[in-house]
């Protein structure tokens, strides 16, 4: 709790370095709709003028009425005519004011929504282009929050913050001019509460913003603790930890409630102080005004005009708090949003990049060095291999040895630090990303399923492929029978994140997805870990035909998955420590042979039937 207060210092609310820059940039964004902006200002000006016209008309009417009293029935007809005119003018002015207010309100919202839509599209597009290194670093939930909440914060400021500020300035400007004409001293008194209220309101806006940020942190801790409790309900039950969990809940909830209450006190306290200032000024106006009426410097109508204008002014003044609050919010939201929008993807097409032309289908790694953040820990050093169409390369090694990294480098999801990766002699950095990725398919251990049908998920890489191909791929991946048995077959929705499918089924979907892409190079990154041995063998059988037209890389823990590869490389700490065929590696009696013995011993011990070391077939 304590350190949270420290991190949320007021400088987080008002970072004077970013605030003008970000708000300025936001305002420029709305100028992309110049005629709407001009119209909005026009209508706002009109509304402000009409806001001083109405009090004036009312004052005039009161004067006329008091004339009636003073002069009696003599001028009756003329005065009543005059009152009728004033009445009609009031209706007209109110109608016009309403129309103008509605119009600028709508235009403000219109501009803000358009800018919001522009930003949303730009954000979406930017995220699609940013490379894996960025997505590794930034949590997806954080990005989603930026795309929703930060965007909303920016939009709200453009919609109401800017317009409210403009309206207030115009209103104060015209009002000061008009009131000083009505009666200088009284008019000045009427406006005397304005600076005070602006100051209090602005301060409240900033304070509320600060407390809000603290509250958000507290609420997210509370939500997280609730969510984990529910997700881990079995653990909670298994350990009978109800009371423990409730005490955790109470700790977060009490802290949040306290912040809520502080916010309430700030808001309500300031509001009542502002209201008191307003009424205090009104007492002064009535006092001085009353005496000036008695001395003939001011008419009753003039006093009415001043008082009415004060009531009109009250609301926009109170909103200064909101303007400040939304400005501060927009500054920090905009900052986070622009930070993403201004990023350059680490991996992108080189200038003059050409499409990859695959002829022989020869993939070559030459002395490749790689680290995720240079100068960081080296993940791969001096890795070289060559693989051609129709051949299979197996990659094995302990966790963290760099196996999966190789898979990601082939499709250039990261750029290497040294060496060269080429396909048919073309450096992959010199070809377009889209042609490269069309040539390479990755099948990963975890498949991401989209909230759509099985058909669309399998055909994700090639949405216009015909159904035959989809079914063919599914059949090879040994998932066709399962899918065909579903109520709606390939049209079945997989549900959010594919909850209805088992781990093995998901992996088989992933393989089918990779096959539909018909790549020149296919990488199975531990893609059969959750698939039982029998099914895996069937998949390999089905793949026989397909693999003839492509280069295949199999990354696996289970040696039986890759023992048939034409070449196997053994990685340790990012280096190739052994290479060769299965038989040769067994002969070398190194890491591979040790791993083989370990896996076989585990199985032998368990009395299982170990695959034959030479053929891999189950005896």
């Amino acid at each position: 709790m304590l350190n949270m207060v420290d991190t949320a210092s007021p400088s987080r609310v008002f970072d004077m370095k970013t605030l003008p820059r970000v708000l300025g940039r936001l305002t420029r964004l709305s100028l992309r709709y110049p005629w709407r902006a001009a119209l909005a200002v026009f209508f706002a000006t009109g509304a402000a003028i009409l806001n001083i016209v109405t009090p004036h008309l009312l004052g005039e009417a009161v004067d006329q009425a008091s004339n009636l009293l003073r002069h009696g029935r003599a001028s009756q007809g003329a005065v009543l005519d005059r009152l009728l005119n004033i009445g009609l003018l009031i209706v007209a002015a109110s109608a016009a004011r309403g129309g103008f207010t509605g119009a600028y309100g709508y235009l403000g919202e219109n501009i803000a929504q358009r800018v919001g839509c522009d930003l949303r599209l730009a954000f979406f597009e930017k995220l699609q282009r940013l490379s894996f290194s960025y997505h590794d670093r930034v949590h997806s939930g954080d990005l989603i929050a930026r795309g929703i909440l930060d965007l909303e914060g920016v939009r709200a400021f453009l919609e109401s913050g800017v317009l409210r500020a403009v309206t207030l300035v115009l209103l104060l400007g015209f009002g000061t001019w008009r009131l000083s004409h009505t009666d200088g001293p009284t008019g000045l008194l009427a406006l005397s509460f304005v600076p005070f209220v602006i100051w209090r309101a602005a301060r409240m806006g900033a304070l509320l913003r600060l407390k809000w940020m603290l509250l958000q942190e507290q609420m997210s801790l509370l939500s997280r603790s609730m969510e984990e409790n529910l997700q881990g309900v079995r653990v909670v039950r298994a350990f009978s930890a109800k009371l423990f969990e409730l005490s955790k809940f109470d700790k977060w909830a009490d802290a949040a409630l306290q912040l809520c209450n502080q916010r309430i006190t700030i808001r309500m306290g300031t509001t009542s102080v502002m209201t008191s200032a307003y009424y205090g000024a009104m007492v002064l106006v009535l006092w001085v005004g009353g005496h000036r009426i008695a001395t003939g410097h001011l008419t009753v109508g003039g006093l009415t005009e001043i008082l009415t204008f004060m009531t009109i002014l009250q609301l926009p003044l109170r909103q200064v708090g909101m303007i400040v609050n939304s400005g501060a919010r927009a500054a920090s939201c905009g900052e986070r949003l622009f930070e993403v929008l201004d990023l350059e993807p680490a991996v992108r097409d080189a200038v003059g990049a050409r499409d990859l032309v695959v002829t022989e289908g020869l993939l070559r790694f030459e002395h490749v060095d790689f680290s995720y953040d240079h100068p960081g820990e080296k993940i791969l050093s001096d890795v070289s291999f060559a693989l051609q169409r129709g051949k299979t390369l197996g990659i094995v090694g302990p966790p963290g040895s760099g196996k999966s990294t190789i898979a990601q480098l082939i499709a250039r999801f990261y750029d290497i630090d040294g060496g060269r990766i080429s396909i048919d002699g073309q450096d992959i950095r010199s070809v377009t990303l889209s042609s490269l990725r069309r040539a390479v398919a990755l099948v990963q251990q975890e498949i991401f399923l989209f909230d759509t049908s099985v058909q669309e998920n399998v055909a994700y890489a090639d949405p216009w492929v015909d159904n035959e191909r989809v079914m063919e791929a599914a059949a090879v991946a040994q998932i066709h029978d399962h899918v065909a048995g579903l109520p709606k077959g390939y049209g079945t929705l997989v549900g959010e994140r594919g909850v209805a499918l088992s781990g093995g089924q998901r992996q088989r979907m992933s393989i089918a997805r990779g096959l539909v892409a018909a790549p020149d190079i296919m990488v199975f990154d531990d893609a059969t870990a959750a698939i039982d041995a029998v099914t895996e063998r069937r998949i390999h059988g089905g793949l026989k035909k397909a693999v003839r037209s492509m280069a295949t890389i199999i990354i696996a823990h289970r040696l039986s998955s890759l023992m048939h590869a034409d070449e196997i490389i053994v990685l340790d700490h990012g280096r190739i420590v052994e290479r060769g065929t299965h038989a040769r590696l067994l002969g070398q009696d190194g890491l591979y042979a040790a791993l083989w013995r370990l896996q076989n011993r585990l199985e032998k011990q368990q009395g299982a039937v170990a695959p034959d070391p030479v053929t891999g077939a189950l005896s």
């Binding site: 008191s276 008082l307 889209s434 990725r437």
Partner: protein, 604 residues
Amino acid sequence: MRIPESGGGGRAGRVEFAERALAEEVFASIDPRILRRFLGYLGPYRVRLVLVLASVAVYTAAQVGLPLAIRAAVDSAIGRSAGSLQDALVIFGALAVLNGVFGFLQDWSAARLAQQVIFDLRRNMFSHLQDVSLTFFDHTHVGRLMSRLTGDVNALQEFLEQSISAISDFFVLACIICVLLLMNWQLGLVTLTVLPLLVAIRAMWLPWAQKKFRRARDSSSTVTAALAENINGIRTVQESRREDLNFERFRILALDNLQALLESAMASQLMVPTVDILTGVSMAIVVMVGGRAVLHGTLGVGAIVAFIFYVQRFLDPIRNLSMQYTVLQRATAASHRIFEVLDVPLDITDVPNATVLAAEEPSIEFRHVTFGYRPGRPVLRDISLRIEPYQCVALVGPTGSGKTSIAGLIHRFYDVWEGEVRIGGRDVRQVSQASLGKTIAMVLQEPFLFSGTIMENLRFNSGADAPSIIAAARAVNAHDFILRLPEGYETNLRQRGRNLSIGQRQLLSFARALIANPKILILDEATANVDSFTEQEIQRALRVLLKGRTSIVIAHRLATIRDADRIIVLDHGAVVEQGTHAELLGGDGLYASLHRSAAGSFDD
């Protein structure tokens, strides 16, 4: 506040959560009973509620009195009143002070009360969820529950905050109407004609506008969902080169959303000129009709000024009502969903005078147990088995054979349909759940860790001290890798331990179970992909963990199965074979055939 009657009465009752994803809007009509139940949460705070209402009363009186003081001031300024200007101003000042103080008291205490009620409600939900049976969680998405605990609770909060100001608005409106009629009933009546007019216009506008608002909301959530999905699946998107196509699709959604938002903006802005025109009309009426009344001597100039003040205010409550109605609808729907959670029946509760399980020897016995999750579909059929204290039994069988159900029944996550489950010779339904929890611990297939430090995770609710926690971590071979982490035992687990490998997480969950030190341990062995190196460590840790306890292992790995004292083979909810590994291999039953087909593991 008038609440329209609606046909929502007979719709209550128990509802299946899982099937109701899309039914939310159904509850958009307002059900008074729901509101009444909700207001029941105010019960414990009666005193504060009275304070709020008293403040509202004083505040309203001050609000309505202020223009009257202005009238007195104006009249005395132009010499039309017996009272002095000074007196009028003193009264005005006093009213202003009352207005300030009680306005603050009203808003402040009401908002705090609302906040308190909201937090109470959330705690009630959360606490109730700690007691509902696991059957409920089996077919309820956590995400949906979370949206009730956060989104719906927030909707209620918004409603409560606004309804307080609405109530005081309406008090003010009612008093203004009275004062207007008292000052000059003819002028008052004519002025008030705009009120029904506004109500009528609003009634016509509302359904049309709400359609626009709803469309805007719906399309916004579609856009949000599309954005979230694309971000979550960004790797697949890039691997499949779907960037351009996905952008095009997203653009269509975003533009449609923009259109909907603009229409809804138009709809809400249309009310602005309407209210302004009507305000203008009422002012014109005051000026014209009031002027005539002044002429006839039935009205003073000060009264006209007061009228103008009143007229400026009195349309506000009605304008706010349009917002209020939407909020009220949303709140009703939200309370419906909240009470649905609160109404989930508690199937499993302690019997009165439940005994405490303490000194009994940890034996487990199933006597003719029949059990299932859905009526008519038993998962276990007439199962009887006995596990002696300190024995280790492996449960083996194909998916759906009932292994996990047996584990759940021992811990009384569910109640049996027929027969009984006995721990230490006592029916689990007769002992307290708390003592059952102390006796039995479970290690789940998917190791689940919480946010927080490793130390906090290992301690969990055991209250154990640091040395014994470290000793346990050593025992299961987790100590070394923990020390290699940046801050050792104080390392924060990000994202519930995603920064650890699954094998490491499994070892931590072993240590957690060891620290809880239960007499009976139920272990659902992880099948997830762990490499051969880690698997050896896990097997070693397992032996430490199981020592000196009665244990049931839902076994997938042959190594674990071989080590068990006894193996129970299940199929279709019945025990088909039991015995030691050697005995079972010798026979020619399901175990032998499972064993033949599955090389290395018993997963299917």
